[in-house]
């Protein structure tokens, strides 16, 4: 062991001496450690863990010298925090790579992340909050032969906790910016075209079914921009891909996503729609949860910031959904009637997701279903409402020292379809967020939230008080009271106290409290976090 350490040190010394001679050579990296203790709480049902304390930690180290970059990430889950899969338990170096890059070519060997287009064909990414990491291990090349033309090619297997999934993924993506490539400077419309081919291979070991070993997905996209108006559309088609997700359905999958945006001088809007059928695409047919996904199908529902607003979050239904969204941003300028002295910002947002229209196909016999299970038409909309939300948010500065945000929201969440229980939940949510600048660098932020619903756990009220001193300190107290719980014994207070210290890029935070059972979602991908009571801490640093 010691031998290795000495070797490592002499290597580092050599490198660091080098780094000083050549200003191009440099190390950088980061650390993040999150820990929590878990105690029994008979009221919330939170349970102690045998380890008493759980911790997730990781550290990245990168070294860059001229055209070469090397990187590794060490990860430790000792043991994994509740809410993230226990299959992470342990330690390892799941991320290591080196990249060579010159003006037109970039080659990475090792582990890498990548996205084609909007991610509908392929997206490898990491989100530590969700416990997602579907990085590839293999080879990636990016090539920019002429101005405005970009190619990417990759081959690899995907990360599955501390192992690799069984499937091999091959991907190719091309993009051309017509204005840049053909020097169309006089053309007012900017046109970008792109296309992807992604194929996966997994041997068929199924004793009863004949499964396709190679599955191809192709996608095309177009992005137009003219003055303030922008349009982005991507379409994807997947050849038959029976899997555990679609209960071994042999029909092909399709998806389309389109966003129209407009930017005025002080206002803007977004109109979008999305339709998909049978688009789960994983490098292992039997993979579940958030594991081994090759593509990414973002949720079209609003991405909420406040905790009650995000109480019933929507996750994309990979087997089929039809959705639309509209959002308007408008700023009333200063010194106008509605703008007042400092201007007023209003946001209106609406999103809705329904089922797609399907007709079941007859069984082949008493055991086997029809290979396609059901029949549907492209862009058809079914009658079942999955999710709907509408919100209005007003941001208004009242005086040089008082800033306010007012938020009203309606949410409908079809738990019957999405989680298989409890029917439709409808909730009304009201939020007031007011910040007072007490003196330079001292602020007090107060936040009041109210959620009204006749279903689930009934009504909630919440308050947050946060005091901050720039640039180092913050302390906050949060209480969420479930006063409307139909079970009087469960009308509990979920309180939490937190304090933190930040210095430059180093940050340490500690807290104590009771956390309600909840769902954390990012980008339409969610994880359930069980109720817990205890201390928590978090340390992060970038260097």
């Amino acid at each position: 062991m010691k031998k290795y350490i000495y070797a490592l040190i002499s290597m580092l010394i050599a490198l660091s001496v080098d780094a000083q001679e050549d200003p191009k050579g440099q190390f950088s990296g980061n650390f993040q450690i999150d820990g929590q203790t878990y105690s029994n709480d008979s009221l919330t049902g939170a349970e102690e863990v045998p380890e008493k304390m759980l911790m997730n930690a990781y550290g990245n180290l990168r070294y860059n010298y001229g055209n070469l970059t090397l990187g590794i990430r060490f990860e430790a889950y000792l043991n994994t925090l509740q809410g993230i899969s226990k299959k992470y338990d342990g330690t390892g170096i799941p991320y290591k790579f080196f990249t060579y890059k010159n003006e037109e070519l970039e080659i990475t060997a090792g582990n890498f992340y990548e996205q084609f287009g909007t991610g509908m064909a392929l997206r490898a990414y990491e989100d530590k909050m969700l416990g997602i990491d579907n990085a590839f291990e293999g080879v990636l090349t990016r090539y920019n032969p002429i101005h405005g033309v970009f190619f990417k090619g990759l081959v690899g297997k995907q990360r599955n906790y501390f192992e690799l999934g069984p499937g091999i993924v091959r991907g190719l993506d091309g993009e051309i910016n017509l204005n840049e490539t053909f020097a169309l400077d006089s053309l007012e419309t900017q046109i970008i075209l792109g296309g992807s081919l992604v194929s996966k291979f997994q041997p068929d070991k199924n004793p009863t079914l004949i499964l396709p070993e190679n599955v191809l997905l192709c996608a095309g996209r177009i992005q137009l921009q003219r003055n303030g108006l922008g349009l982005l559309t991507e379409y994807a088609y997947k050849i038959n891909d029976p899997s555990a997700d679609n209960r071994y359905n042999y029909q092909p999958g399709q998806a389309i996503l389109s966003d129209l945006t407009f930017n005025g001088s002080h206002y803007g809007f977004l109109l979008g729609f999305k339709w998909l059928n049978n688009m789960s695409f994983r490098s292992d047919r039997s993979a579940q949860e958030n594991q081994l996904l090759i593509n990414y199908l973002p949720s079209i529902a609003h991405n909420h910031i406040y905790s009650f607003a995000a109480m019933y979050p929507y996750a994309t239904q990979l087997n089929g959904e039809a959705g639309a969204r509209a959002e308007v941003f408008y700023r009333f300028q200063r010194e106008t009637f509605l703008g007042g002295k400092y201007g007023t910002l209003i946001t209106l947002s609406y999103s809705r997701v329904n089922s797609i229209d399907t007709t079941n196909l007859p069984m082949l016999d008493s055991v086997y279903p029809h290979p396609s299970h059901y029949k549907t038409t492209f862009l058809s909309i079914g009658n079942t409402r999955y999710y709907e939300d509408f919100l209005i948010e007003i941001q208004k500065k009242i005086s040089p020292t008082i800033n306010t945000t007012w938020h009203l929201q309606y949410t409908a969440y079809n738990r019957q379809v999405l989680e298989g229980k409890d029917g439709m939940i409808e909730a009304l949510i009201g939020i007031a967020d007011i910040t007072f600048r007490l003196r330079p660098r001292h602020s007090l932020r107060t936040e009041f939230q109210y959620l009204n619903t006749k279903q689930d756990f009934g009504n909630w009220v919440g308050a947050t008080v946060e005091y901050t001193v720039s640039p180092h300190f913050f302390v906050a107290v949060v209480d969420q009271w479930n006063f409307g719980n139909p079970n009087p014994e469960k009308q509990l207070h979920y309180y939490m106290a937190r304090a933190g210290y930040t210095r430059g890029a180093n940050r340490i935070q500690i807290g104590y409290g009771r956390q309600r059972l909840g769902v954390i979602c990012i980008g339409g991908v969610c994880r359930v976090v069980p109720a817990s009571t205890g201390f928590n801490f978090s340390i992060s640093s970038t260097f």
């Binding site: 190390f27 980061n30 990414y125 977004l270």
Partner: protein, 161 residues
């Protein structure tokens, strides 16, 4: 063993603190055009690079606070601010209209799959970097509370003196 670890860490720190440069990574403009981060330059003047997202309240507060002071800062120091949105394809289309309605006047780019964020070792947003006229990272700060922009401006002024 412990001493070795300390030595190792010290060495590492020594090389790290020694003025890092921006990595070269492809990101996108709000119109979808590819741009390489190695092209970012402010011709010998300081530059601020701030990582944010539309769903991150403190990030939006920070950039709004910077925006209020931006004309004065530019006049006094010649500083340029660049905001990097880490919104993924779910909310990437929102970034343009969002920025317009906020009235932000600095440049905004998109890093939808976190390539630039990773290369800069950013763990959480907001995370703000200050670069001197030679493109060396001289200061960085994570998270935002009201008033942090004044600390940042102090650092910018120190650079331009």
């Amino acid at each position: 063993m412990k001493k070795l670890a300390i030595l190792l860490f010290g060495l590492l720190l020594k090389t790290c603190l020694w003025g890092q440069k921006l990595p070269a990574v492809e990101i996108k403009t709000l119109q979808g055009k590819n741009v390489n981060t190695s092209m970012f330059t402010n011709h010998g003047k300081p530059m601020v690079i701030s990582f944010w997202a539309t769903w991150c309240k403190p990030c939006v507060k920070e950039l709004s606070a910077i925006n209020e002071n931006y004309p004065n800062w530019q006049k006094a120091t010649g500083v340029t601010v660049i905001a990097i949105s880490t919104d993924d394809s779910r909310s990437q289309s929102r970034v343009g209209p969002f920025v317009t309605s906020k009235g932000w006047t600095f440049e905004v780019y998109c890093d939808p799959n976190g390539d630039f964020k990773r290369a800069m070792n950013v763990t959480n947003v907001p995370h703000t970097f200050l670069l001197d006229g030679n493109g060396n990272i001289v200061y960085q700060h994570t998270s935002y509370v009201d008033g942090d922009e004044e600390v940042l401006y102090q650092k910018i002024k120190e650079l331009s003196n």
